[in-house]
């Protein structure tokens, strides 16, 4: 099956070029077909992925020039994030079907290009190939916000670009240093290279600058609300669904395994910023009057749960962090779709302009309720599994941070239910709201797969945990030497025969 990854990159790339020469309708159909083809290939990829097999699968390696290689290959983490990308893409195309009427071929090309770059980022095994894909992702997003965005799109797109570029330049410098030190650009080899402890801190900080912005972590999060508010619906979906996951993937692929000592000694920075983010952005979300801004702020809070999990140095934390990434990708994508659906009808994101939608849009109310509850982290939905594992993992490291971050479940419930109440419940106050029609067949076709995936992840997360289990173990073996001691440390029981749990030193 080697070559499948290149094929998954080639299909949307060729389609993107072809789109530019087609009519609006032709571009739509071509984009849909191309993304669906990638979805099918994604299915093949998943079914062929050997759980418990070699760490790197579907490996391709073609030397290009110098030390630069066309090296692709995936492990469980990459597999799951690729699945998330190919799953969301056709939904994005569908969401733009009617709402985008301006420069459709270019729009579809931009989206297909985004897909190429995202899959490439997750599949790249060469450090510079990764960098190109990783940073390349900026360009189509910059265009999508800047051309098809809302009224204040130029400010938002520059803010987005400035923030993310600043971090990535530092990362490039760090990468050059690493290649010089380890004499290889291959990520699997770098993963097993022990960098000197004193250099790790600087390298870690350089990577952190880039990933923290992408995540985004507090206080470099302010580009996200603006970008979301201005982006078209599908842009928001892909931004929240996949682009925000690049930061987490970066932490998981580079920061933690390559610089374990630095990760361990700087863990307070990650935890501190994350704990602040959970409380700070949740409270900010509570007072928003713009639906998209509210969900954007909630994303920052959710991503903070990812970062603490990834830096928990134990299996629950890392698996939990990954699960939150996947769950949040589905749920926040779905929530942005829900906002987009009513935005298409009323052309406003002001919460106070709505109310009483349960009366004339009952189907919409059901879907929105499901995704609201998933965002709140109700057990049985995807986000619960992730949040629970992540927080259970972090409890082994710091009870205080756990307490602070778990307040997110209270605040999350407050801002999401408050949003839902103002939009869906109550009386129909406005005539134009009363005239809104319930979901069309196309819209149900967009939301239903997301709903199914959210429930599947919530009820039987084993499908998602199994592919990454081996990779987490490998990662843990590597970083175990730097594992920070927890603050709980129960003293052993008096009766020594009883098996005590992990964590007592």
């Amino acid at each position: 099956m080697s070559g499948i990854l290149s094929l998954m990159l080639a299909i949307p790339a060729i389609a993107a070029v072809a789109c530019l020469f087609l009519s609006a309708n032709g571009a739509r159909w071509l984009a849909l077909i191309a993304t669906l083809l990638d979805l099918v290939l994604g299915g093949v990829l998943w079914s062929q992925f050997q759980i418990g097999g070699p760490q790197w699968q579907f490996v391709e390696n073609v030397p290009l020039f110098g030390t630069f290689n066309w090296a692709l290959g995936i492990d469980g983490f990459a597999l799951l994030l690729i699945e998330l990308s190919v799953f969301l893409m056709p939904i994005c195309i569908g969401a733009s079907w009617e709402s985008i009427q301006k420069r459709v071929p270019e729009y579809m090309a931009a989206f297909l290009l985004t897909e190429v770059l995202m899959i490439g980022t997750f599949a790249a095994q060469d450090l510079f190939l990764f960098y190109i894909f990783f940073e390349g992702g900026l360009i189509p997003m910059f265009l999508i916000i800047g051309i098809w965005g809302g009224a204040n799109r130029i400010y938002a797109s520059y803010k987005f670009f400035l923030y993310t570029l600043l971090g990535s330049l530092l990362m490039l410098v760090a990468m050059l240093w690493m290649v010089n030190e380890a004499h290889t650009t291959s990520i699997p080899l770098l993963l097993n290279h022990d960098f000197p402890v004193h250099a790790q801190t600087w390298l870690w900080l350089a990577f952190f600058a880039s990933f923290a912005v992408k995540m985004p972590m507090w206080p470099v999060h302010t580009w996200l609300p603006d970008a979301h508010v201005q982006a078209p619906t599908a842009g928001s979906v892909i931004l929240a669904g996949v682009l925000l996951k690049l930061g987490g993937y970066g932490f998981l692929r580079f920061s933690v395994p390559m610089f374990p000592e630095a990760s361990s000694s700087l863990v307070w920075l990650v935890f501190g910023l994350s704990a602040v983010a959970v409380i700070y952005t949740s409270l900010v979300a509570l007072v928003q009057s713009d639906m998209k801004k509210l969900i954007a702020y909630s994303s920052v809070a959710h991503m903070a749960i990812v970062t603490i999990g990834l830096f928990a140095f134990n299996q629950q934390g890392i698996e939990g962090g990954m699960m939150v990434m996947l769950g949040h990708g589905l749920v926040s994508g779905a929530l942005f779709l829900c906002v987009g659906i009513i935005y298409d009808r009323l052309h406003t994101r002001e919460i106070s302009r709505y109310g009483g939608l349960a009366i004339n849009m009952p189907r919409y109310a059901i879907f929105f309720m499901l995704f609201t509850m998933a965002s709140v982290g109700l057990p049985g939905t995807s986000n619960f599994v992730g949040e629970f594992l992540s927080l259970a993992g972090i409890y082994k490291v710091s009870t205080t941070i756990t307490l602070l971050c778990t307040t997110g479940i209270i605040l999350g419930a407050a801002y999401m239910l408050y949003l839902y109440r103002r939009v869906v419940f109550g009386e129909l106050k406005f005539d134009d709201v009363r005239a809104m029609t319930d979901l069309s067949g196309r819209e149900i076709a967009l939301l239903a797969p997301l709903a199914a995936a959210v429930l599947w992840m919530g009820v039987y997360p084993e499908s998602f945990l199994a592919p990454m289990r081996g990779d987490v173990k490998v990662l843990l073996q590597r970083i175990d030497r730097a594992k920070p001691a927890g603050d709980a440390r129960p003293t052993p029981p008096k009766n020594p025969q009883v098996k005590a749990g992990e964590g007592h030193a």
Binding site: L162, Y163, V220, T222, W223, P225, T281, L283, V284, L286, V287, N314, Q315, Q316, E319, G320, G356, A358, P362, I366, L378, P379, G380, F384, F388, L389, A392, Y395, T399, T400, T402, L403, T406, I410, A413, A414, L417, Y418, R421, F425, G426, E427, V459, Y460, P461, E462, L465, G486, D487, A488, P490, T491, P493, K494, N495, V498, K499, A500, G501, G503
Partner: protein, 682 residues
Amino acid sequence: MIQLIVFLPLLAAIIAGLGNRAIGNVPAKVLTTGALFASCLLSWPIFIHYLTGGDPYPVTQVFTWMKSGDLDVSWALRVDALTAVMLVVITSVSALVHLYSWGYMDEDPDQPRFFAYLSLFTFAMLMLVTANNLVQMFFGWEGVGLASYLLIGFWFKKPSANAAAIKAFVVNRVGDLGFMLGIFGTFLVFGTVSIPEILAQAPHMAGSTIGFLGYRFDTMTVLCLCLFVGAMGKSAQLGLHTWLPDAMEGPTPVSALIHAATMVTAGVFMVCRLSPMFETSEVALDFVVFIGAATCIFAATIGTCQHDIKRVIAYSTCSQLGYMFFAAGSGAYGAAMFHLFTHAFFKALLFLGAGSVIHAMHHEQDMRFYGGLRKKIPVTFWVMMIGTLAITGVGIPGIFGLPQIGFAGFHSKDGILELAYASGRGIGAFYVGVLAALLTSFYSWRLMFLTFWGKPRWIRSEHIQHAVHDHGHDDHAHGAHAHDHHDDHAHGDGTGGYHPHESPLSMLIPLILLATGALAAGFVFHGWFIEPDSGERFWRGAIAFNEHLYHSAHQVPLWVKLSASFVMLLGLIGAWMAYIWRTDIPARFTSTFRLLYDFVYNKWYFDELYNLLFVRPAFALGRLFWKAGDEGLIDRFGPNGSAWVVSLGSRVTGRLQTGYVYTYAFVMLIGLTAAVTWAIAQ
């Protein structure tokens, strides 16, 4: 079989909920009610199996849920004696409430949705009580929270209902925070979340300490207290109780099922389920006793001066849950479960009876506008009477060799008080409990007297006036009956020309069945729940059962045994004096003790306090962080700042490019001079 019991309601909920208007009212109702009756019929044999001393059933594995390292959580259904008790309570009350709702919700346009929610709730509750691990219990815990949220806000057009729904969910989440920390801690300490394994290991952990928030505490105390915070949220105990009275915004059948008989007892169930764990921590047990006793008396005081019939019963529920908790804290888990069991019957009865009154009174809930309803709705009156006799604990104490016999609440409440007294730990709670029993009797009889005795005071009610004057296009059947007798001179008797009608049979049958339970459940079952020998055989280790405690409860002094009955009579006499004999007493009392009355009437100002402490600061902080933090600091000095620096720089350099040759020559000259100077200085 247990799969059928648990999953039939889920199936019915999904079909009725998604089908909604497409499948129509009657099929949705038949389906959900049928599923619940099937579950109920399957549950009783399990309970009887345990009553007759049968062996515990093995745990039924469904499939894996989460597996991460040594965390291994599966969907599994555990049915022991404790679960069996909960199964019959949940399925019986739920089935009857489904049936009752046929009549009560008859005119509602959204019936499939209502019945789907009810069935969904039942499923979640069943998942909670059959859980074999803490995480599945948490699933059920949150599932019932969701159903409760949806049902409180069922009439989603009402702002007050929406506010109450959100409040219920968010306050419960505060408790859930504790529950989650408890689960994490338990997993850290024991390396498992499986309940039987935890309970087996817990006794060996005595004396161990654990770090928590930077300090070190006794391990088991930390774990139990964290978990108990969860129980306090769900069971509306003091501090986290504020959501329960507001939850009365939901339809009355919901109040009966969720906010009286089942969901709110989940906290008690959790403490009983984890009783061997709680037994390892003295501090935790003391805390449980304290909270239980405090809630018990606190809620009872508020219950005495509410006007809304449902709110009186809601505070009464809160207070009765307090009894269950201090029983559990005293080590009398059997008695806690027994009171849970009997309370489910008589409190569901009282709520549904109140619903029947409300139905008859055209949705008027204020007791000040009731009165004289005894003859008008006799069946409702008699079942409410049985419910009142049950909650106030009427019966013949087992003294002088007399057989102990009485209504349901008599057996369980007396049992709790005697056991609390005998336990030593709960002796303070005993006195509080007796005092609360006095108040219980007072507010319960006050409710009865205000509603069913005296002269009709209906005319002042807006709902009634609305019913009488609006009869032409009234959508309520009983309202429509009013018009044929409507004439102006009838207003003189306080009826306002309104004629209440008895509820339909679908509502009366559940009432009568529950009345039977309220009458007999205590007498029939007390042997299994709280008698030393038969109790041991019945529980079979499902809860921590201290046989000695139950033995010593029989040896308590005579006055202890009589105290509950004595204060019950006192409360009855007090209520009779105040609301039948001299009806001006309440007014005189309130004007004399204005401050005290206001304090109690306003629910000890808890809502106001929380608003001041949490809600308003949260919004204020949110605005501060947003405007001053994000926009004022981060954006101003971050991206906008750097953009400003760049544009400033470009303006400055732009100004240098004047286009005049002499300017450039001048700059060159300065540069050359500087370079030469530097070269010479070297």
